[in-house]
């Protein structure tokens, strides 16, 4: 097994860039959503970028990822095509699902992003199955399953943990604990006990960390992925984080008062990007100029993607009844 080693400055900048890029893309989607041309539910991951980025940075391109309704970050961090994402949200033919899926159904097989779907818990056993197939085929692929603290309540997660532990399947369960399922606080859904200990009791090795610290996520994920790859069995990672915007939709919803002002403030203060920026500014010499350059590059990329999307063909009813069967 590899030792986790200190990151070099290039790698650090990449992590930063990747988070910043996801943030700007989400913000662009949020801004444009008001135009009422993205006509599908969207669940933005603003505030939670560090988990997607830290975990995916620890994967190989040939490794696999499954995700849930809040998938943009996972998809982008794994290398999923931006233009195809934007086109998908706009319902265009060039979208990654040809418009059939919208924001809640993303796929990019070329980078191992196997699919995201919005039935909570639905993809968790799929990740186990894909990883199982890898062992039966005797390749060294690892599969990651991203899901939330709400999802952890679904029975299928436990069935998945049991089967993964039984067959020592190289799957890494990544639980993004933002303490909420829609507007419902975890205390209304779960007793007061850590989730990761349940995974441990299932015989799955578990670790937990600060989901707003991208290097911490990366380090924990690297160790876990490496163990899974070496045949040490499934791994469960629980990361605490905070969702900034409304559960579904582009806006902030603090006016609904389901979160306390102090809590919101703490959440925003824990911004994974701001923190990493100041850390890198001090430690790795990341300069304001670098960041401006990133911002410009990302801005340009976003514009290209939106133009691509909006100028793509609109599919019609004639496309809608194809591909029901393979």
């Amino acid at each position: 097994m590899k030792q986790v080693r200190a990151m070099d400055t290039v790698e650090q900048s990449q992590l930063f860039h990747s988070m910043l890029r996801i943030r700007r893309i989400e913000e662009a989607l949020a801004r444009k959503y008001a135009e009422q041309e993205m006509r599908c539910p969207i669940h933005l991951c603003v505030g939670q970028e560090a988990i997607a980025v830290g975990v995916c940075a620890a994967l190989n391109q040939t490794d696999l990822v499954f995700s849930n309704h809040r998938a943009h970050g996972h998809y982008l961090a794994k290398g999923g095509g931006l233009a195809e994402l934007v086109a998908e949200v706009y319902g265009r033919e060039t979208g990654c699902c040809g418009g059939r899926g919208g924001s809640m159904h993303l796929i990019d097989l070329s980078v191992g992003f196997m699919g995201s779907t919005p039935i909570v818990g639905g993809t968790v056993p799929l990740a186990v199955g894909a990883a199982w197939a890898a062992t039966l085929k005797r390749n060294r692929q690892v599969t990651v399953s991203f899901f939330g603290d709400g999802c952890f309540e679904e029975g299928v997660v436990h069935e998945s943990l049991n089967f993964a532990a039984l067959h020592k399947i190289p799957v890494v369960f990544v639980c993004e604990n933002n303490d909420f399922s829609v507007y419902t606080r975890r205390t209304e859904r779960q007793p007061d006990r850590p989730m990761f200990e349940i995974a441990q009791a299932h015989g799955v090795e578990a670790a937990t960390g600060n989901g707003n610290d991208v290097e911490e996520v990366f380090n924990i994920a690297t160790t876990a992925i490496d163990k899974a790859r070496c045949g040490l069995g499934p791994q469960f990672l629980e990361f605490r984080t905070y969702r900034w915007r409304e559960h579904c939709g582009p806006n902030f919803d603090d006016d609904l008062r389901y979160r306390l002002p102090l809590e919101i403030e703490a959440g925003l203060n824990a911004c994974p990007i701001a923190h990493y920026r100041s850390k890198l500014t001090k430690a790795n010499g990341l300069s304001g100029l670098d960041i401006d350059r990133y911002e410009l590059e990302i801005q340009a990329e976003i514009e290209v993607a939106f133009n691509f999307a909006l100028s793509s063909r609109r599919p019609g009813i004639e496309d809608a009844n194809r591909k029901v069967y393979a």
Partner: protein
């Protein structure tokens, strides 16, 4: 019984479907302390499209519950609570999530009374919402009534008007059997005259929404409103009177009502909110032809969704859902009216949808 009016008169109180549901819950909870309400988001600020708002304030955390994401387990919990004397009302924001609870609903709730020789029963209501529009897509817009309606022991209803929503929800909660109460998302904001008093609407009867003798259109849920629009336009523009039946109940089907109408019209269209194959529309047609084959002048017709999942894209869904125009066209085919006439063209103009095709009304701006 009141007949739904979509332009309520001044002196009568009008409520939306969601408000009617809320009022039913409130009144039953007031009357019967055994009634509890549970579901993901029931006490949250959005309160299941406002249909449960204020209930927790009024009845407390001991009767109004949010729940973990555990549809099968919690359905079982509600069944167990029902067996021990409570009358739970469970809510799923989308009927698609109820697929997770199929085991408990089909193996336990539906069969308990029968298999234990009537010694116990399961007074459980499950509200399930059928999604549509704004890119709900393949996993959030299924209309699964036929899947449940084939299960002996379950009752399945799909009220259309706010009036019926209140009366049928009250009946459902008072009923000693498991009742699935299916709400089409596009009905929630539609107003109707709803009396303030506590009243019941039976769970096994359809009703005539519009009288006519040309064609019988037996319609389920939101399709009953589409059929009503078609009926009004057909009468005004062409003088053709179709009979629109709001079926209201899916199990049992009020086949008697349809047979009576078909005896008069000799022609049957069934309009459903679900995929074509295996739909309850097919079941209804089968029952009608088994029992009244001789009364039909021509083949029956189904109006349904096509046999593929709902795509998400605005552009791909544009002609996905049948509406008044589809119904009119099928009616005219059956009665043999020329579709090149001026009357027909005017008719089309009248029923043409204004505004985007993927929202229930013009105020709706996504994303739910």
């Amino acid at each position: 019984m009141l007949i739904a009016k979509y332009m309520p008169e001044l002196e009568q109180r009008s409520l939306s479907f969601a408000e009617a549901v809320r009022e039913a819950l409130e009144q039953v909870m007031e009357k019967d302390p055994r009634v509890i309400v549970i579901g993901e988001g029931v006490p949250d600020p959005k309160a299941i499209f406002n249909s449960t708002i204020g209930l927790r304030d009024k009845y407390g955390t001991g009767r109004v519950f949010d729940m973990p994401l555990a549809e099968n387990g919690l359905t079982g919990v509600c069944i167990g609570a029902a067996l021990n004397g409570l009358r739970p009302v469970m809510v799923h924001q989308r009927i698609d999530f109820a697929l997770l609870a199929m085991d408990q609903l089909v193996n336990n709730a539906a069969k308990w009374h029968y298999m234990f020789d009537g010694k116990a029963s399961v007074p459980l209501v499950v509200r399930m919402i059928v999604g549509r529009g704004w890119g709900q897509g393949p996993q959030h817009s299924q209309s699964l009534q036929a899947m449940f309606a084939q299960v002996p022991g379950l009752k399945v209803v799909m009220p259309t008007t706010a009036y019926d929503a209140k009366g049928m929800l009250i009946s459902a909660i008072e009923d000693d059997n498991p009742v699935l109460f299916i709400e089409h998302r596009w009905l929630h904001d539609i107003q109707d005259i709803v009396p303030e008093e506590y009243y019941r609407v039976p769970l096994d009867q359809g009703r005539i929404l519009h009288e006519g003798d040309a064609v019988t259109v037996a319609a389920f849920s939101y399709m009953a409103l589409e059929a009503l629009t078609a009926a009004k336009a057909l009468r005004t523009e062409l003088g053709t009177a179709i009979e629109v039946l709001d079926m209201r109940s899916v199990r049992p089907l009020d086949v008697g009502l349809v047979l009576n109408s078909v005896r008069k019209t000799g022609r049957l269209i069934v309009a459903d909110t679900a995929f074509r194959t295996g739909s309850i529309a097919g079941e209804l047609i089968s029952q009608v032809v088994e029992q009244a084959f001789d009364k039909l002048k021509t083949h029956p017709v189904r109006i349904t969704l096509p046999d593929h999942p709902a795509p998400t894209s605005y552009f791909m869904t544009e002609h996905y859902y049948p509406g008044p125009q589809t119904i009119i066209d099928e009616v005219l085919k059956l009665v043999g009216v020329d579709r090149h006439s001026d009357g027909y063209k005017k008719l089309c103009a009248v029923t043409q949808r204004r505004g985007p095709h993927d929202t229930p009304n013009r105020e709706f701006s996504g994303p739910f």
